[in-house]
Amino acid sequence: MTIRTRLALWYAVIFSASLLAIGAVVYSELIVEQRAKATKHHEENVVDSDAGEDLTQIILLYGGSAIVVGLLGGWWLTSRALAPVTKLTHAVEKIQESNLAQKIPRTGNGDELDRLTEVFNAMTGRLDGSFNRIREFTLHASHELKTPLTVLCGETETALRDEKLSQPERERLLSQLDEVQRLTKIVDGLTLLTKADAGQVALNLEAVKLDELVRDNFADTQILAEPQQIKVELATCDTISIRGDRHRLRQLLLNLADNAVKYNQPGGKVTMSLRGAEDFAEFKIENSGAGISPEKLPRVFDRFFRGDSAHENTIDGCGLGLSIAQWIVSAHGGKIQIESAPEKLTIVIVRLPLAK
């Protein structure tokens, strides 16, 4: 039972009870008066019993309507009193990591709820501050890492230019260079995502022919899949144009295709399709392979999460691919979802809103 219903009922009970009490007092006064009259005029007894019946009817009529009025009035009053709470609830429901800085408007009349709103705003404000500090920290950290990485990469390359190096020395330096390049990719990905979190990455919106991008990506995927004899198919490719960032969308498609090939099996299959619906474009990519277990599936978009720990060391990549894909999709106002089960097809579905 909601607070509003409970308060309305209580209100009606108290309202009716007080009315009944008043009624009872009035009734007893009338009876007393009637008896006093009765002692004076015996002949008027008949009329008196009539008056008693009238009184019961009046009490029933007025008492009944009083209860109804009490209920309705109680409902209205509590609704009025609780409206700010409902408003507050809706406002709080809308709060997410991305809009913590947004304050809930105060009523300004200094009541308990106004005070609650104030306290709540102060709390989200503190949370926002903490989030910002973490974001800034990550951004600074990835930024600060760039200079030493540049130096490390440059020094290693300079060392490799020395022709007197023995083969083992050269191998060691090359392996070191590979790791520096991997680290560079991680730092780049991290910088991008942190900036995206802080809303600092702007999309370059233009009309983009999605089908052309998908066909291009299909051609690239065939080449990427060839060494493992994976068959790539383009099932459907509707002609669709959307407003989007061409580079980011290409990055998204390539990212998903690259995953579909990496987490596949030799001789496996990748199927992609692009379909237009009423108000969105749907890109779907399926791949064979080991699949993803149910407990890992919800976490695949998490940063640095690896789908299959057994493959962890054989598959290269920075562990940020799907997080970046998810960011690109949501920045375009779309949705991305993934379906999979062990030894089943893994299906990634991207829905992007069409230009209005």
């Binding site: 930024h143 760039k146 200079t147 990485l149 540049t150 130096v151 490390l152 990469c153 440059g154 020094e155 390359e157 300079t158 490799l160 230019r161 090359l174 260079l177 590979d178 520096v180 390049q181 560079t184 990719k185 730092v187 780049d188 990905g189 910088t191 900036k195 990455v201 702007a202 370059n204 051609a219 690239d220 080449i223 990427l224 060839e226 060494p227 580079h247 290409r250 990055q251 390539l254 990212n255 690259d258 990549g317 920075c318 691919g321």
Partner: protein, 224 residues
């Protein structure tokens, strides 16, 4: 060929200079914007490598000042921020190329070399490396008189490698010129394409033309 390197981080400046010198360039180094402007006024450089984040006057400021003075020396911008907008901003301000940090040294050297050739770029319609020829009008490639079938992407890759014949092409540069990607896609796309192209142009021939420089990129040339 004389290159001016404007970079406040001393170690970076030092190995960039060494690498350029090793490639046969004369390289001067400045550590701040004002010195760079003075140096550019005193000496005609063939290329200026300009870091955006400098103490005092920043790289973009230096670039704008240079262009205002009608100095049209090709400029390669370096930046640790690596934002798409910054790249556009830099190119609009008159830069000729942009390289985000951390960069690979070979990539930087390749870009500097490309900038020095920009004016005298090989504009002929028939490109030739040893017995491999590419007709850029008829889109026809052949080696030793035998026609080579290429997909459009492979064709663009081969054309780019042939136009830069003898020079090292970094992966980033290939992605930019052949795929028009201005981000690192984190895949081995370039390597796989190069492998395929190599099968088509080198597999049946004794002399290999397409060479891998591990950790750096690829080069198309007659001698290994």
């Amino acid at each position: 060929m004389r290159v001016l390197v404007v970079e406040d981080e001393k170690k970076t400046a030092s190995f960039v200079r060494k690498a350029l010198q090793a490639e046969g360039f004369a390289a001067d180094v400045c550590h701040n914007g004002d010195d760079a402007l003075a140096a550019a006024k005193a000496t005609p450089f063939d290329v200026i490598v300009l870091d955006i984040m400098l103490p005092g006057r920043d790289g973009l400021g230096v670039l704008k000042q240079l262009r205002e003075r009608k100095n049209s020396t090709p400029v390669l911008l370096l930046s640790a921020r690596g934002e798409v907008n910054e790249r556009v901003e830099g190119l609009n301000a008159g830069a000729d190329d942009y390289l985000p940090k951390p960069f690979e040294l070979s990539e930087l050297v390749a870009r500097v070399r490309a900038l020095t050739r920009r004016n005298g770029e090989n504009k002929s319609t028939i490109l030739r490396v040893a017995d491999l020829t590419l007709d850029t009008v008829a889109h026809y490639a052949q080696r030793g008189g035998k026609k080579i079938e290429l997909t459009s992407r492979e064709y663009r890759l081969l054309e780019f490698l042939m136009r830069s014949a003898g020079r090292l092409c970094g992966r980033m540069m290939i992605l930019e010129k052949v795929w028009d990607y201005n981000f690192d896609p984190g895949t081995n796309l370039v390597d796989v394409y190069v492998r395929r192209l190599r099968e088509k142009i080198d597999a049946d021939f004794e002399i290999k033309l397409l060479h891998t420089v591990r950790g750096s990129g690829y080069v198309l040339k007659e001698q290994p």
